[in-house]
Amino acid sequence: MTDGPLIVQSDRTVLLEVAHPQAADARHDLAVFAELERAPEHIHTYRITRLGLWNARAAGHSAKDMLATLERYSKFAIPQSVSIDIAETVARYGRLVIARTADGALTLHSEDFAVLTEVAKGKRIAPLLSEHPNPGTYTVEPWARGALKQELVKLGWPAEDQAGYTPGTPHPMALIQDDWALRDYQNKAIGNFFAGGSGVVVLPCGAGKTLVGAGAMARAKTNTLILVTNTISARQWRDELSRRTTLTPEEIGEYSGLVKEVRPVTIATYQILTAKRKGEYAHLALLDAMDWGLVIYDEVHLLPAPVFKLTAELQARRRLGLTATLVREDGREGDVFSLIGPKRFDAPWKEIEAQGFISPAECFEVRIDLPQSERLAYAAAADDERYRLAATAPAKLGVVKQLVDRHPGERILVIGQYLDQIDELADALHAPKLTGATPVDERERLYQAFRVGEEKVLVVSKVANFSVDLPEATVAIQVSGSFGSRQEEAQRLGRLLRPKESGLSANFYTLVARDTVDQDFAQNRQRFLAEQGYSYTILDAHALDQRV
């Protein structure tokens, strides 16, 4: 016992007292093997998970190191069950190794014959293996490298993948760092990625994930396939690569619903990759169209399930995942681990913020009392109508105007879920709207006008949630959103976290109809942000005028 900042609990959670003098050091060492689960202002909660321990083991840390970290910083004695669990779990990683023989065959081998025999008998593993040349080795079907890793993780015996990568066709490129430079943490993320082979880099919105991707490409110097969430994002990648690297527009292709270009650097959307024609994936050929040496997955937490399946077949290529959060609403974190790779770098938002690379945001929940007529309409409505009624309550309109008036001259995003409401808001605020129906060119034009300050207020639907770079937005007003999605909340706040040249701090408002389901859903979403360390202030709409 050291009276340190950590409390290690028998339920595998580790609490970190933020105000403790050793907190920063403890956090640094702990993050190696424990997942940050919640980070409200005083006590951060980490969880020691199997994936976390294997991630650490994959990065070269031993169970002894991890236990030493806990012993060094723990306030109380480490529960013995935790010590034993860590040692046993870590020991499972790498007992099985996927390798390649001199003649190119994939093998699964282990010196622990018992474990090897046990897993080889597994109903889902046996079909992936072909021969058993000696007691310590099985030959793996050439197509089964990804599937095997997936199944082994599920069984609790993650394999170390030493089968290597195809180098890909060389394609020279470099970063042009004339008026900028990669930040330290970006360099570290790139370094970790290459040291590990494949894997995921976790950075908050605004912390420069695209540049990490560009940095990785500059180091790999090979044909690269970049998979992104949508066309707007594809174009932002293209622009950023053109601006920050030696790549010319001719070297960068876009492969989307609109354009089908295959070039040494190709940016494709998840949607086009998973589009089917007559029941078959119509664009699978893209994966083999070039000899890719690097595949980058943007927003890896949104990777659609079919892409996992396709990725299982891309295991010979070096893969980089980029994301703000490893939390997947579908719980498929294990697939990210086995198919993209272990986490190679992670930094909590607040730490990056403290370094000044993303601007701090203040969050407000504005509670609106519905007038009696709206309250009656809500009460009389059926359950499935209630959320819509609460979310689109006309009483919100006046409050939005009030809030817009509170931030004269600032760039403001008004975010809604329902098209009718978006129309009303756009009319009332005399502001342009941007929804899924807005053509891509028009969207780009509006974003550009917003960036340069020609448009101060944009009313947007969920199309603006992901991967759109709007660095000058300082205010977001969320009028309605989908049901309690943590991802969505993080993304929306992410819009505001880009570094501000203006020096203004960001304000994030959520409008909530009091005593309705709106309040429940809002609470769900806010909880995620509060757990990320963003404090919320709750305001009464009727008292807004009295607040500064």
Binding site: I7, V8, Q9, S10, D11, T13, L15, E17, A19, R38, P40, E41, H42, I43, K75, F76, A77, P79, Q80, S81, E365, Q372, R375, L376, A379, A380, A381, A382, D383, D515, T516, Q519, R527, A530, E531, S535, Y536, T537, I538
Partner: protein
């Protein structure tokens, strides 16, 4: 002689509490038992007696065997005679086997008296004037033991062989103590949560034993343990009298409530003390002299010696003791921990003090956070923990604890007498970092809105409630709020009807209306008939039936008492008939009192053979002739053996 007849008479004279305790101890299934005679027969049933004997330790069995031996002569045995019989049995064994463990103290007069009294409480022996007789069925059962491979009287009385438990090599004591500390701490924490959960809502026990599955899941969730770990925690708590079963429901006792305010180490000491007390004295003395030994299979063989007829139940008991010793950290991996050793050698206070130095120290300050959680960076002082639980819900509990404050938890606190000011003052006092705005807002808002709607049961006489089936009334000063309630779709099933501008009526009970409106997010409070706000417990589906579910043993006592009273009230003939029926079936001699036509009482020592045509037929044992006596003239009937002794 002691038969079902005399047992029925004895049962009749017992206090209800004694009868209840005996039924519980003997685990009598109420089944088809209608009256005291049925009960007496059930108690003297072969299987029931064997079941009761199997639960007794060797020394108590020896006392019963001695009484049985002495009763061969037909006379009841005094304590002195029992002691002499035991000595007599023991002496050859002590002579032939000098290595036996001397345990003369066990046969001391006080010990014999205690054991005889225990057998008497279990209705295996009958006592009168300080002397004991076995029930005939008990004596017969014990005499047949050697045929069943069970020990004879002399074997039961024999001293314990030496070296029942063997020592094993020392292992890593530090690791063992760490594991024991984790378990001890975790067990105390989970029992705290068990009590909190049972306080919130008692849990139903199945007739066949064990908690009903939904209840077990609920309790397991509250304790953050696996389902299969629930019985051990419940057993540990019940043994320490922190919880008890009443009317088929597990609830917290007064002792449980006071246990909650003790420190973690003191709480542990109470649990361990109860474990130690329940440990049979023989086992306890053996364990306390040999603390560096494994409790594995050798403990089983030791227990088998002390409980020679234990069988599967003994096996279960051994498993239960060793399981609970592990749960409490008295042992770790079946070896005594350092505090476990102290428990056996110096008692629970010393052991508790040892654990106090190993447990995380208590804290009295917490972090109150924006996300509405309150985290204590260590075990929170029990007094503060108790109050915080009235304001916030426990989210997780381990070395540190996490609580979450919500509108519902604040409402609950206000119902319990808190106010926004008192809650904020308390949080302010214990918070290390002040109170975040969202917490303050939540508390203030919930308090301000609390009770804007009130619901109470409809008064039995109310002129305005002429509608049929009005069971509850919702009232508020805010008429608009009532209008909203009236049209609210989710409340349609309550059938709320306006009976005055400020009142709505429902055909449902107050509690049902309260929870429905509360779930629909309206600020409602429940009132009693005097208008005072009361806190309500939410019932599970089928919940209203739970409290009324009778304790089977209590129900049996009630049933046989009613039947006996009815028999005696109507006429003594029914009671007489049952007595005769029992004595005929058991072929026992009875002393019958007959009222002669001139009013003079006459006694016959009779072996009844049958009842027919309103007359009792039997053989007169004194005159050795057959007699038929008119039932209508019989005024009393006693078992002959008892009455003979009285003379």
């Amino acid at each position: 002689m002691t038969t079902a007849l005399s047992l029925a008479s004895r049962l009749q004279s017992m206090e209800d509490s004694q009868l209840y305790a005996a039924i519980l101890a003997r685990q009598i299934h109420p089944g088809h038992i209608a009256d005291l005679f049925d009960l007496a027969e059930a108690l003297l049933d072969h299987d029931s007696i064997q079941h009761a004997l199997a639960a007794l330790d060797r020394r108590t069995l020896a006392v019963i065997a001695a009484v049985t031996e002495l009763s061969r002569a037909g006379a009841p045995a005094s304590l002195e005679a029992i002691a002499a019989q035991l000595r007599d049995w023991r002496s050859p064994a002590e002579k032939t086997n000098p290595s036996t463990t001397p345990d003369h103290g066990e046969h001391a007069a006080a010990s014999i008296a205690e054991r005889a009294a225990e057998a008497q409480r279990l209705l295996l022996l009958q006592e009168e004037d300080g002397k004991y007789l076995p029930y005939r069925a008990v004596a017969a059962q014990l005499r047949s033991w050697t045929d069943l491979g069970l020990p004879s009287g002399p074997e039961l009385a024999a001293p314990a062989p030496a070296g029942l438990l063997g020592s094993v090599p020392m292992t890593d004591t530090a690791a063992r103590d760490r594991l024991a500390t984790d378990r001890a701490f975790g067990s105390v924490a989970s029992v705290v949560e068990l009590l909190a959960e049972l306080n919130r809502e008692p849990a139903r026990e199945l007739q066949k034993g064990g908690l009903a599955l939904p209840e077990a899941k609920r309790v397991a969730h509250a304790m953050s343990v696996e389902l299969e770990q629930v019985p051990a925690r419940l057993s540990v708590a019940a043994r320490a009298n922190l919880v008890h079963r009443e009317g088929g429901l597990w609830a917290v006792t007064a002792a449980g409530a006071s246990w909650l305010v003790l420190s973690t180490a003191q709480r542990w000491a109470r649990l361990a003390d109860a474990w130690l007390d329940a440990l049979p004295a023989g086992i306890r003395s053996v364990l306390s002299t040999r603390t560096q030994l494994s409790w594995g299979s050798v403990l089983g063989s030791t227990m088998a010696w002390y409980y020679p007829a234990g069988g599967d139940r003994l096996q279960h008991r051994v498993e239960e003791f060793t399981r609970d010793a592990e749960v409490l950290g008295i042992t770790a991996k079946l070896m005594p921990s350092m505090p476990g050793t102290l428990l056996l050698t110096h008692g629970s206070a010393a052991a508790g003090a040892a654990f106090a130095g190993l447990f995380p120290p208590e804290v009295d300050q917490v972090y109150v956070q924006h996300d509405l959680t309150i985290v204590s960076p260590g075990p929170l002082n029990p007094g503060l923990d108790a109050r915080l639980r009235t304001i916030a819900d426990v989210e997780s509990r381990a070395q540190a604890s996490s609580y979450r404050i919500s509108a519902a938890s604040v409402n609950h606190a206000i119902t319990g007498g808190e106010s926004a000011a008192s809650i904020l003052e308390f949080l302010g006092q214990i918070s290390l970092t002040g109170i975040p705005q969202p917490v303050e807002y939540l508390v203030s808002e919930a308090a301000a809105r609390y009770g804007r709607l009130r619901v109470r049961s409809a008064p039995p006489v109310d002129a305005s409630l002429t509608r049929s089936h009005v069971r509850s009334v919702v009232h508020a000063d805010d008429v608009e709020l009532l209008k909203t309630l009236e049209v609210d779709q989710t409340l349609a099933s309550l059938g709320l009807q306006r009976i005055a501008p400020d009142r709505l009526a429902s055909r449902f009970e107050r509690d049902v209306v309260f929870w429905a409106i509360s779930d629909a997010r309206y600020p409602i409070a429940a009132e009693d008939d005097s208008g005072t706000i009361v806190g309500l417990r939410r019932q599970h589906t089928g919940g209203p039936d739970l409290p009324s579910q009778a304790d089977p043993a209590a129900e049996l006592v009630r049933r046989v008492r009613i039947r006996t009273a009815a028999d005696q009230e109507e006429t003594s003939q029914a009671w007489l008939a049952r007595q005769l029926e029992t004595s005929i079936r058991a072929r026992v001699t009875v002393l019958v009192t007959l009222e002669m036509p001139d009013g003079r009482p006459v006694e016959y020592l009779l072996e009844p053979t049958g009842v027919a045509g309103g007359r009792l037929r039997g053989r007169d044992r004194r005159a050795d002739v057959e007699r038929t006596l008119p039932l209508s003239s019989i005024t009393g009937l006693k078992p002959a053996a008892v009455s003979t002794r009285k003379k």
